[in-house]
Symmetry: C2
């Protein structure tokens, strides 16, 4: 699929480094066909970013069949720490997500989709937090979820840009989960 190929290419060279020709090669088609499906380069980007955010929603929710059933806190940690692993799939998605976020600063067309995807993700985490702390107020849960997900984005960027080893990023993330849960208890 062309969009899958586009996600790979973006993860490899960034949005700015996306060459239609390279994308064509990666997808095993000609450049003309790319332009047949998408009117122009910008359209490719738009469609790819939509594709990436949809895919990200699925893959944080789905669990491998046969994976151990986790308690609420385990589920929460799993969801967040899943994004800080140096595997090709995670690297690809995080890189593409970071690119999407960075591109949206200068491209208003991306902002709506991005805000939507961010909201879905925050709500999912808030819901998990609520399962750990059923008595937490909705506002407190939402705030904690926003902080944890924003922190995750910040840590991912540091990791991917070579300022922070993954292992350390994971420790920091775990510490933040701990801090937020304590705060919800207080």
């Amino acid at each position: 699929m062309i969009l899958e190929a586009a996600a790979r290419v973006i993860a490899r060279h960034g949005v700015r480094g996306l060459r239609v020709e390279e994308l064509a090669a990666e997808a095993g088609v000609s450049t003309a066909l790319i332009y047949y499906h998408f009117k122009h380069r910008a359209g490719i980007l738009q469609a790819t970013l939509e594709f990436i955010s949809d895919r990200a929603e699925r893959y944080t929710t789905d669990r491998e069949p046969g994976a151990p059933v986790l308690d609420a806190r385990g589920e929460l940690e799993q969801t967040l720490l899943l994004e800080l692993q140096d595997t090709p799939a995670v690297r690809e998605n995080s890189t593409a997500w970071g690119e999407l976020r960075a591109s949206a600063v200068f491209d208003a067309d991306l902002r709506e989709e991005l805000a939507r995807a961010t909201l879905v993700w925050v709500q999912e985490v808030a819901e998990l937090l609520g399962r750990v702390h059923p008595m937490g107020g909705a506002a407190a849960l939402a705030g904690a979820a926003e902080r944890l997900t924003a922190l995750l984005e910040g840590l991912s960027m540091r990791w991917l840009s070579g300022s922070l080893p993954v292992a350390h990023a994971r420790e920091l993330m775990a510490g933040a989960i701990d801090a937020e849960l304590h705060r919800l208890s207080a």
Copy 2:
């Protein structure tokens, strides 16, 4: 100054959108002069990153003359919340910083300087945390500082990409400072 102009252009169109010609126009010089000073486009980016991180160090440390003297916690909050204000100067620096961070994912030449600047910043925040909690262990202080600064980067990106209003970003940041300080007390 060329580097100041570069920071402005990057804040306006991103690293991806930096045209040497536009930079030349912004700085009021010819493109040839740009290439006289910097060997190639990549060199411009490198130098601009250095410039921006130096400037950021100054402007988080310097206080306006006549500004009220703050206690340790006030100083800490000031330093972090300063970066979440919708003023041209802050927007410009944050935007450029975010761009350089994002670019470094695909450009190894930027990574070293970026890691250095990140480290300086983390240490500065750790030092401020230490003044609030003189009994905090070095590792705990460093961890908290890394989380707070990474969160700030994450919140800035959300703000600049239109997923989060500044005012809310500030509240979240304040909440995180609170959580980290509580955790250091425990």
